[in-house]
Amino acid sequence: MKQKHKLKRMKHHMSHDGAETSAEPEQEKNQQQEGRQDIPFQAEWEEMNAVPLYLDDQYVLRREIQYSLDYRYGSRRLGDIFQVFRRWAQETADHPLKPDGRRPQDLLFFDTETTGLNSGAGNMIYLLGGAWLSEDCVHVTQYFLPGPESEAAFYYHFLTEMEHSIHHLATYNGKAFDWPQVKTRHTFVRHEVPKLPEFGHFDLLHAARRLFKRVLPSCRLSVVEEEILGLHRENDTPGYLAPMLYFDYLKEQNPVFIKGVIGHNEQDVLSLISLYIELSERVLEGGTTPEETYEIGRWFEQMKEWNKASWCYHKAIRTSREWNAVYVYALALVLKKQKQMAEALPYLVSVWQNRGKHAADAAVELAKYMEHELKDAEKAFHYTEEAYTLSRNTDLRDDLEKRRRRLSGKIRPGKSFI
């Protein structure tokens, strides 16, 4: 056929980026698909604890594994989550990691595997994995898409069975990646399956970035696991292989190709439980190092939890081996926000006198206080001069220039200061 020849000839003008699959194209497998009971490689699936679930003429595979609450994943016992929830319940301050009335049994620790990393309509999710808790054990439930034609069954069973916990997801970057992709693919089958709930959840990537951004080379889950949870995965299938392995599976139908990915996903969701416990405890304890304590304080500060924030900054100052202007200045500002200027004053003075980081800012704060609160134009003028000398920031210098001019008008002529 003509078009075929042309296609061959012009092949090099057409690039198909992306994954090359590793397996050779194979002859058709002898697949017997009579009736519901027979699915390809059913024995192999069963060995992996997976069973088919049907919807009309489609099926999806559900795999279930249980872990005891005493199972240790890294440094943490999975069952410790109950204790962490109890601690959270006693915490009065608001925090993004706070369960807020939820029980551990309400959560779904959730992760997906997809056919690509982009967010377009053609990027398919083929594995929905979740870990959830009952009173006596941890369950991992994974839904696997045996082929692109089965998406209705895939989402139907996932949404029906996980109906409760899907309202409370805990993910790693799920807000930006997994959940929008679930929404995208759900759109294709939206008339055949239950509605998607509104999205409410803990994105542990956010939390990890808050605490570890400065100490870790990257906040990828594998890095956090190794450096923070003290966990090293043996023979793990790296996530970037997930698309290619699925394409190979589709050709061969043999679950051996994606066994590694399914295992990887299982580890991921368990890891999320450990990570949640770890992060919560660090926040509740106020950090394990002065740097971390300071970051937790900033987080509370952003939540407008001034008391918690100043508590953290106090702790950072106390535990730090050397005097640190950043912590002290942060504490002074948070005291100021709480209208405790008298307490803040000595901290500001020490930062200014140290003539290091934030010295100019501290002098500005002092100048403002002298001018507006104490109405002492001369002292205010003095601190403004100081700030000007200490500052290297041109914007700030422009401001200071104005302040100085204004203040020199207020100072009585002829009288010198200091």
Partner: protein, 765 residues
Amino acid sequence: MQKQNLQQVMNWMKNDPEISSRIEYWHTIEEKPPRTSPFPDTLDSRLKKALEQRGISEMYIHQAQALQKSGTQDRNTVAVTPTASGKTLCYNLPVLQSILQDKESRALYLFPTKALAQDQKSEMNELIADMGEDIRSYTYDGDTDAGIRQVIRKAGHVVMTNPDMLHSAVLPHHTKWVSLFENLKYIVIDEIHTYRGVFGSHTANVIRRLKRIAEYYGSSPVFICTSATIANPRELAETLTGEPFHLIDENGAPRGRKHFVFYNPPVVHEALNIRKGAVSEVHALASRFLKENIQTIVFARSRVTVEVILTHLQELVKRELGPKSIQGYRGGYLPKQRREIENGLRTGDVMGVVSTNALELGVDIGQLQVCLMTGYPGSVASAWQQAGRAGRRQDESLIVMVANSTPVDQYMIQQPDFFLEQNPESARIDPDNLIILVDHVKCAAFELPFQDGETFDGVDIREVLDYLSEEQVLHPRGHKWYWMNDAFPAHGVSLRSASQENVVIIDQTQAGSAKVIGEMDRFSAMTLLHDNAIYLHQGIQYQVRELDWEEKKAYVEEVEVEYYTDANLAVDLKVLEEDRKSEHTSFTTAFGDVMVNAKAIVFKKIKMTTFENVGSGPIHLPEEELHTNACWISFPGETVKEFGRNSLEQALIGCANVLRHTAPIHVMCDRSDLHVVPQMKATHSERPTIFLYDRYPGGVGLSSAVYKDMKNILNDCRKLIRSCPCTSGCPSCVGSDLNLDEEAKWLSLRLIRILEEEQQIEAKA
């Protein structure tokens, strides 16, 4: 001294002995009164009131027709409208009317450029504000703030975008646009004449994808298109969208008086018929107009010429008007620069603009009084579009076309009737170009799996789907073909450039603060951005320090030199398949697939003032391979005997030179899109042959149009050579190649005569 007005300057042109001797023809187009009809009763009263508030009490007849056909009868319409004839209401009225009746109704507008969409949004929003209705109209492009994107997707009644954005950001994410696609009532495609060649062929496929997604969500939108004057607006609209159209070609808008002046620079070398360059004449005329404070737009065909004229004019008026008052405008400039220029024109801070045809489109830039064309723009449609830049609304205006020495220019200027009476050209696209088609089938499969037996808007693509499965891009399963690859296919497909990847131009003059100043397609980069090439941008000379071909980056630095560079391309061509063939007694024409191997080998340094060759250098770039369509004329061995080997070679080169100019006019493309190669011994037949091939892989219908229209093209070639006053061939006809001798002109004519006589016999038989 008091400034002269346009009328006085025109009198000067007519009376000055030197200037008037160069005016070959002064054509005046009289003003035309408006033709209108009253608002129909069906027009929503809120819309009527808003129009009346803006002083519009009735409609031009073309607007009324568009409202009736597309608004009331839901038929697809294409309206042919010259610049500034109120075309916007042709689509805004039916669209607003439908939204007023049903607040769920949605419309998608496609503009060829972002600038145009911005412009139309302001106009639309003013009308909406006058009605005081909550109708939301947004532009959606690369500049759209991330924060507002979600609002646009969910609640935008009118979304204005461009084909590129539709292709790479909207369709691949259609699940985020459900409310638009479920309620899509109108698709507006403005300026469809710009969708030709490669860009048009790509866009036609993007529209196939758009229709497919709309159908999936259950809507069947009505198309409203507008076009500048071309020969086949209805055919083009139908090929572009795959839908039947009603043509609206009676225009009711008024027009001011226009003066169209054909200006030929004086001959400076009688024997060779060499004329003074158009550029220097344009310099002189433009500076005269500008000094009188008459807003003038200068068009030039190539980027290089734009930069040369720009530098000159800026220098000239620097003291009187300030350096900012003359601006350059071309496609390669980044959007922000372009918008500043547009604004300056509107406010009057900018007095003059030097532009490539990037400004041909209907971007509203306020009133310019004079339009100067540096050479014939290459097509009748293009010339009228550029002429429309002067005297928008109903003012008197002046258009001066200054001829180059090229054959076409000289032909046009000496026979103004040909230009003034000629039908405008047809715009050609080939949506079924296999490479383009396959690219978009991939994108479409990513968006939605193909079903067994499903066509791509009527095109049988079964074999393409098979091919893509073999390539492991698609996965057939059950009755569907699923996308099964981790790539995002739209990112690998660019609608605009002939080659897939563009070369980015990086200015590293300031160490440590390198910045991107533009981009260029790969094929052009071979001859314009090779190592040591002089590249002009905004009137500044840059030298290419390094062209990193692997990374597609050209590193340039500012320089000041007295020369520009010009590169040669060596071409090898093989016929792979002959699809069509017509045998004549003493020659054959054919059309088919060819493989072209092109390599830039050497560049020359040419002195700016004298055009002397002042040096050269090698170019080390890999060969580019191109599979494409070509048509060719070949002669049997007898012709060689009859003519003599040397004479035939002369004739072939001569004819090829003329074809290089005439063929693009007929098929409405740029000269660089259709290449002409003469060969004394073609590889496939060992016969003397002239090839004409499409520059884009797979071809976009140019050479096939040449094959069909060969008779008229040859006729034009003969007229062109005949009408040239030179004695033995010159750059204005058969060329002045070093390989040509004194006989070239007559030998070329003799060869064309053979071709034409044969055709006549053919016709009688």
